[in-house]
């Protein structure tokens, strides 16, 4: 029967389209199949070595790196090396690549005023891992990475561009197709039935009023709402991406990025105490006594420093009544959380950028990390403490023994109790 054949084919196409749509969706939400261990290693390497200048998704001192593998591969072979191999050469020592005359590398070297650092010690495997991270930066990021900032705080921060809108359109298109196909199939069903002379089952109530559907919709709705409210609850009070307008248009990109002023020149207590201080205005004056004009805003913003500290540039004296600068605090932790900068910066030798992101590229600072407990704990699980280099740990005899006996491979913060409640809550 021809009709039967058409009906069956139509049903098969519908099913196939449905499956394709579902599969595409699952791919979106699971992202690519990425090896978590390698990815994590790559991420840590990237944060440690590259994040000061690079961001996978945004241009900074260096270019945005997502898709870098494809770009180099696309540049073609040269001197018996593939584009990707040239990328390895570039990463280890960029001068080797541009010096060889490889055009893409030469262009790249010319494209930016700043020079890249040399990373001769990185293995190809390590670079692979880093590239894995760079190409899939959100593969295992905490849920918060994709979350919207809390209500009421304006956010101009770059948002992650996870699954491209084209893909959404594709899935949407497929789903519409499924709907049309279901309609066609139903019609065909009727025609086949008619042609066979069978009684046509007329549905008196529309499908959305049928018990089965209603129950299904309600259930799906409940699950969705439940998920959403838990998700919303979890993110309550988090401010990732928070980028308030500050009283002075101070640029970290200019000071830390272009002029390469050491972070702790201004934030001098990060190494010593609980707080990383917002520099007192007298620190600004160390340089700005002489520099009264900036590249972007001229004297306008620097005059605000003078007003704060009471400096009269005309007479070069501290003649006026000082008035403190009221900065808007970006990184806020709840009162029941104890966080100590010295513990991380001094004892743990953690880079500022690990938590604060590519601060040296930020014209205006935003909150880079979610500052959620999950985010803290993740890092504590993965990060090794300075076990060998800090004498404090020399009294941890059992752990030294276990390391020697190879019972454990490394001592992370978690190993010494860094995920316990009372390390941060007291």
């Amino acid at each position: 029967m021809k009709l039967d054949y058409i009906l069956n084919t139509s049903k098969k196409i519908t099913l196939a389209t449905w499956l394709t749509a579902m599969l595409s969706m699952s791919v979106f939400f699971a992202h690519a199949e990425v090896d978590k261990g390698k990815w994590t290693e790559g991420k840590n390497l990237f944060k440690g070595n590259c994040a000061a200048c690079h961001n996978p998704k945004a241009d900074g001192t260096g270019p945005a790196l997502m898709g870098v593998t494809a770009r180099w591969e696309g540049a073609g072979e040269y001197k018996g090396k593939t584009g990707k191999q040239w990328l390895y050469v570039w990463i280890k020592n960029w001068k080797d690549a541009s010096g060889s005359g490889y055009k893409y590398a030469v262009d790249m070297a010319a494209s930016r005023p700043s020079e890249m650092n040399v990373f001769a010690s990185l293995s190809d495997e390590a670079i692979d891992n880093m590239l894995l991270y760079v190409e899939n930066p959100d593969a295992f990021a905490p849920a918060a990475a994709a979350a919207t900032p809390a209500a009421g705080v304006g956010s101009d921060a770059p948002k992650s561009e996870s699954p491209s809108s084209a893909m959404y359109f594709f899935v949407f298109f497929l789903l519409i197709l499924v709907a049309i196909l279901i309609g066609v199939t139903n019609k065909l069903d009727k025609i086949v039935a008619e042609s066979k002379g069978e009684a046509i089952v007329e549905h008196k109530t529309p499908f959305y009023k049928r018990t089965k559907w209603v129950v299904a919709f309600v259930l799906i709705g409940l699950v969705f709402l439940g998920y959403k409210s838990v998700d919303w609850g979890v993110h309550l009070g988090r401010q990732q991406g928070y980028q308030p307008t500050q009283p002075i248009k101070y640029s970290h990109a200019l000071h830390a990025g272009k002029h390469k002023i050491e972070c702790q020149y201004c934030h001098s207590t990060a190494n010593k105490g609980k707080h990383s201080n917002i520099p007192s205005v007298n620190t600004c004056m160390n340089c700005h006594k002489n520099i009264s004009k900036g590249p972007k805003y001229g004297t306008e913003e620097i005059a605000k420093i003078y007003a704060a500290v009471g400096w009269d540039p005309a007479t070069q004296t501290y003649a006026n009544e000082p008035k403190p600068v009221e900065w808007v605090r970006i990184h806020n932790l709840p009162d029941h959380v104890y966080f100590n900068h010295a513990q991380h910066v001094n004892a743990g030798k953690v880079q500022c950028q690990t938590c604060h992101g590519p601060i040296e590229t930020m014209e205006e600072v935003y909150q880079y990390s979610p500052l959620s407990m999950g985010w803290c704990i993740n890092c504590h699980r993965q990060t090794e403490v300075q076990f060998a280099s800090n004498n404090y740990y020399s009294s941890f005899q059992t752990l030294h023994d276990e390391l020697k006996e190879k019972k454990i491979s490394k001592v992370t913060v978690e190993t010494i109790g860094g995920t316990e409640c009372q390390r941060c809550h007291y």
Binding site: A151, G273, P324, V328, H341, A347, F396, G417, Q422, H425
Partner: protein, 1028 residues
Amino acid sequence: MSDKTYWKGIEEKEQLEGFRSVAQKEFVDELPVLSSITEPISTGKSNRRDFLKMLGFSVTAAAVAASCEMPVRKSIPYIWRPEEIVPGIANYYASAFYQGGDFGAVLVKTREGRPIKIEANKQSSVTKTGTSARAQASVLSLYDGARFRNPKRAKENITWEQADNEIGIKLKTIAASGGKIALFSNTIISPSTLSVISDFKSAYPTTEHIVYDAVSYSGILDANEKTFGKRGIPSYNFAKAKVIVGVGADFLGTWISPTEFAGDYASNRKVNSEKREMSRHIQIEAVPTITGFKADTRIAVKPSEELNALIDLYSVIVAGGSAKNAKVGKVAEELKAAGAGNSLVAVGSNDTNAQVLANAINQALGNYGTTLTWDRPYNLKQGSDKALTTLVEGLNAGTYKAVFFLDTNPVYSSPVAGLAEAIKKAELSVSFANRVDETAVAAQYVCPDNHWLESWNDAEPKAGIFNTTQPTISKLFDTRPVQETLLKWAGKPADYYEYIQKYWEANIYGKQSKYVGFWAFWDNIVHDGEVVVAGNAATLSFNGAAASTAASELAATAAGLGALQVKFYESIAVGDGFWSDNPYLQELPDPVSKITWDNYIMVSPVWYAKNGYNIDPDFKEKRYAVGKLTVNGKSVELPVVGVPGTPEGTLAVAVGYGREVVAHSELSVGKNVYGLLGKSGDNFTNVATATLTKTDKTALVAITQTHFNITLQDLGGIKTRKLVKETTLNEYKKNDTAGNEDRAAIMEEMVTLYYEHKRPGHRWTMAIDLNSCDGCGACVVACNIENNVPIVGKDQVIRAREMHWLRIDRYYTGTVENPDVVFQPMLCQHCDNAPCENVCPVAATNHSNEGLNQMAYNRCIGTRYCANNCPYKVRRFNWYDYQQADAFDKQYGTSNDQNVASETLGLHEPLTRMVLNPDVTVRSRGVMEKCSFCVQRLQSAKLEAKKENRVLGDGEATTACQTACATGAIIFGDRNDKNSEVLKAFEDKRTFGVIEEIHTMPNVVYLTQVRNREETKQYEIIDYYHES
């Protein structure tokens, strides 16, 4: 094995109904919070509906509140950051605390420029071991909302300029007319201040400096003048004495220099397997004190018998006669047997004759030169009782035209009536008080002094020992150091800081040779807080001529006392009354009676029952009959409380309560009994014949003695539950596990199927030596301040809701008439196998790999299962938001100042919240809390070591209670450190864990108490003093 029974009060000893019903519960009330919420609504029919309504409302409210915008927080940096301030790192400044005779060399901990905690200065040669509870609590008075904010004329605010002008004119007129000016003060131990006063005197030669102490030591001062020709108090060295006899002298609690004495006393009573020797201490006393309870032998007698005992000691030791009281005769024999210079007799009486006898006895025993020396006499008490009478008479007669009050509140504390009216007769009266008190209200002007934490000052507690006090915060209000005020009025340059430096350069710098150049000297001394220079001659010649007359006069005094005698005493917490507006001290349970927020008439429990005061025989509520105490025609009504150890015929009442002019009426608790003090010669006497009549009134008393009880007999009682262990020195000499023999068997049973916890790093452990702990309570206040523990107020204490993380359990054993007492500080035991951890449904309490039993407040949902399951009863539940919305609003008093609105300045106010430790979370309503082993201090010590790239040393990580303890009873440290003190203590043969037989594996252990007395049969005391 010991079969002694221990009890915390009569109600437990007799297992009365009131005790048993409460002791079985963790929480005394049945969920009163819920009932109070539901009652108004549930007058209708349906509770379920109300519940749903409330549920709906709270969910909506929470949702609305939660969806609000996050607040915008400002971060305002310094304009010029002070070099020494690193945000988040505490600075410590050496300083000296002195108030009402209580001296302490201290370190002031400041955070971001505000003082938040007092610690002992361990380099001091006076109070090197710890601090008093009062010194700890004094940091709160800095942020007291009741402080004066500017000078005042009557109730009107004026400027300093106005005050200086007006007072200056009046002073000149008075001086020109030859009228006398009285500068009336407490004992001043600051040499620079005394120099300022003499400068003032040279400007106004008619000035008289009159010194008066509310708690008088006139007797001992006058006796020393009679016998040694010097009005002073010699140095007492309790560390050197082998036999100590105290006669009514509470030298561990309040007498002369208790912090110093407690350290010395305990140092000679610590025993271990190598050193099995300790001093012997006999206490003869009427009022039960911690000193008596720590004594090896305590003889409880009436106040008159204290005097007779002294006469007996005199007769045997000095006069070569015999003792009327056989017991005292044996004490005298023991003193003689100790050998020349090996004993010490300390007498607390303010009767000059008694002190003359004490001197004669000590002289005969050869103690001067060894345990009593004149090289460094105390300056802490110099007052004369005569001074007060002189002042009142002078004011009334009009000879004193002007009167200044410096660091004293005689209108409250004067036993002489009519001072307030007499002050009004003066042409000029000025109080320098920095917060409101009775005298400030009576005076025309108030010229507020700075708080001691805001001022430069100095101190000479003992001859040749000089301390500096340095400001640790710039002054909060428009106050001025009293020294500058006096200098200004005297027309001298008014910079007290420079003045001190000049004084030190001229008078102290030359006496030392360590530092060359004054500034090197000054900088180092300010840093260290103390300099010791040569003292006086060690001995003075003794003149015993007055002794025999003194003995007969004293006998007459004793004979003159009636059948019922009252003795007034100074309480450890509130002292002479200066501290009675400090809520931390009001809520500190008295170490002896365990009563908070009150004074009361302490009587013998036997007498109490006999005379019908036992209105609540089952102890169902904390209700006591009120008695009317009459002395010399004056009377006062106070609740009557039976306290074991009080002899029959003795009534004991604490002074220092009943302040009427305080910031808040709720801080005005108890009754003022200063007016009842009698007179003997020139001196006030705290002993008098009294009558007590029962009134129809009753009063609730916030007594905590059976709160958080862990000795229920149904569970075997204390006979099998090993809470405290005791032995005698003789037993201990034979066997260093004496009293602790059963521990070996218990430890053998400590087997488990579970893996042991891993302790890769530290293993925090605390050992508490019961032999050293004297129960004084300094640790409790130190803990409160370090950990932001809230004050809950009298009503909440009555409901057993005090929040103290550390309490001191006081166990009696023996007879009600004269029991033995063991003090046991009880805090979270940080069990390795903690019963609380297993029952928490949300895992808010769990174990750390350093052995801490952790409490995560933000995770706690308040089921209170953990408290129910804690065998030590050390968990505290926040029934209210004690620190914020529901703060006990009298916590820090209201402002007495018209400029400030009349709303209460509770702990939720910015000013008083400055005392909070920023490293410790302020807990909110509905969560459980408990001792954390001061985890913030441990973390900070660890971080310092990491930053300096070195191993954490023993003694670097300390707890607040440990640093406050003057006797060194609390030893804390890392048990994984092979060389640590705590490991030594942990492995000592005297060490045991409280009820460790239930396999809690506590990380807090205790060391057996050892008493130096004879007991032949096991624990059946045949000691001669314990006969009835």
